[in-house]
Symmetry: C2
Subunit: 327 residues, 2 copies
């Protein structure tokens, strides 16, 4: 089996690569070759004895998609995107990367099929940003996509393309609406939603973190480990069971910031909780109020996608995967 | 006021042109100029003393959108599209006309705004084909768009673009999800849904018509007069009241074929009904089962869009508008 990961240098791409290498394949198929692509050179995975091709490329550049498809990978992960804030600041770049890049990939596959019947599995990383406030709680699977960002618009348009190309048999696509990933490893970043991770990750290693919103804010989370689990499951399920509605809101954990903090207290004690400094930020509070509080995700659960049931578990996953199992 | 109609030679485009000329404008603004565009030369309206520019052009050709926008029309009606059947048969042409053509128009407006702050009203003819079976009845306003045709996919993608361009202030867009138009004037055509009109229009003038489906089939209808009414209302309402969700399922009449026939009996008598010949067609029956049975259309009604309440009324509108008021 040959797997192509576009956006392989990002956090999910790196973890997915590690997991694929560790598992050695899925559905009784052995992973023989990996093609890793990103705008920054992806690191080659350790401990992999198969063939690795690590490339620097931009999917929205003319000819890139065709080149990537030329080797006919069996499974294609499309995780590459300009993030929400950048797509909002740079309108043209957002559409070029997030919409035109995706369409170029899908078109290259369609044209390849004309040549030799090629029909790969395509797993596309979509986002809960495809929905926009006002939102019910929980958000049902059949809720309309009325994004309030250009990023969300581009993801929703790509979802529609994916479903149509799949319906017409050009590839077998699955779109994965990822919850906010928590606890995001690494350093605090500039994303407005970064605090959801910061207020847990930093106190767990004795560092201060800033909480800019009230504890009542409710949001929709999943661990990096679960996100990778979604990606693997999406590549291995029977698409005929999924039917024509190919874009799935993934399961996750709906929790308030207060519930996150209670979980931190249970796992790491009052000392950790005391490292959270409250500094209300009106702009972030206003943005938060438009974010998804949680999804029903009934179809995805029925199809076998699974995520954490508690924030204690999300914190323990972080301790196991990022802190060597120890506090 | 200068109004541009793209797709002006089609049935709705022609009726919209006539109505605009008859009304002489709206919202206390006088209609001074009309630009009529289609792939076939649109007829110049009778009785209009303002300036008319009638053009043959394809919106998806490079440079066409910029040329149309150069004169800075105040209101733009975008009604041009490849129909459902053709978009399904010719994948590339469907995306080129229905998606790329729409995007070219929106982009031309955005770039014009950069030059001089241009910000027109844009009314886009979308379709109930943006939803796909299985469907509830009635379909609520917040139901997801999971089209089962490439045409529906292209309309749903265009709706997302329209909402994003409107949210960012590039224009003031309203997307209009038109019900099936009944009674469609003219000759019977090859569209699979043509029988909904044929079984009324033909018997009203003493001609036979074929009914290929059972009387229990339920569908979603509006008259050509109401469709034009939607177009006018969409150009004149306050977009701030509409908010960011710019694509509206229009009101209409949900009726079974049996209810259509009962209305025909009431308006035109048993003699007309006897002209309907039943010839079941399995392919059309299967297609019908995936079509929308009816929408709640609560938001559109609250915003002042109106349609017929009974099929008797739809038939009377046809008699008034197409048969000179006489049976």
């Amino acid at each position: 089996m040959h797997i192509l990961i576009i956006g392989a240098a990002g956090m999910v791409g790196r973890k997915l690569t590690q997991r694929l290498v560790a598992d050695g394949g899925f559905n009784d198929q052995t992973l023989e070759a990996l093609t890793l692509v990103d705008v920054f050179q992806p690191a080659s995975p350790e401990g992999f004895t198969g063939k690795v091709n690590s490339l620097t490329a931009d999917l929205s550049d003319a000819g890139t998609a065709e080149k990537l498809i030329a080797t006919r990978p069996d499974v294609i992960y499309h995780l590459a995107a300009i993030v929400s804030g950048e797509a909002e600041l740079d309108f043209e770049k957002g559409y070029r990367i997030n919409l035109d890049g995706t369409r170029a990939l899908f078109e290259a596959i369609r044209l390849a099929q004309k040549e030799d019947g090629y029909r790969p599995r395509v797993v596309f990383a979509s986002s809960i940003a495809v929905v926009g406030a006002p939102l019910p709680f929980p958000i049902p699977d059949d809720f309309h996509t009325t994004p309030l960002t250009s990023y969300g618009t581009q993801k929703a348009m790509s979802e529609l393309l994916l479903a149509d190309y799949s319906r017409r048999g050009f590839f077998d696509g699955i779109g994965i609406r990822l919850p906010t990933i928590c606890i995001r490893p690494g350093k605090p970043n500039a994303a407005a939603s970064g605090f959801f991770s910061n207020i847990l990750r930093e106190p767990l290693v004795g560092q201060e973190a800033v909480l800019p919103v009230p504890e009542e804010i409710r949001h929709w989370h999943t661990s990096p480990r679960s996100a990778v689990g979604f990606m693997l499951h999406a590549a291995s399920i029977d698409v005929n069971v999924v039917g024509p509605r190919r874009n799935l809101s993934m399961p996750g954990l709906s929790a308030t910031v207060g519930e996150q903090i209670e979980a931190l207290r249970r796992v790491a004690g009052e000392k950790a909780v005391r490292l959270i400094r409250r500094e209300p930020d009106d702009m972030i509070i206003r943005m938060c109020e438009g974010w998804a509080p949680g999804f029903e995700a009934r179809r995805a659960r029925e199809l076998g996608f699974t995520a954490e049931d508690s924030f204690d578990e999300i914190i323990r996953v972080h301790i196991e995967d990022e802190l060597g199992g120890q506090l």
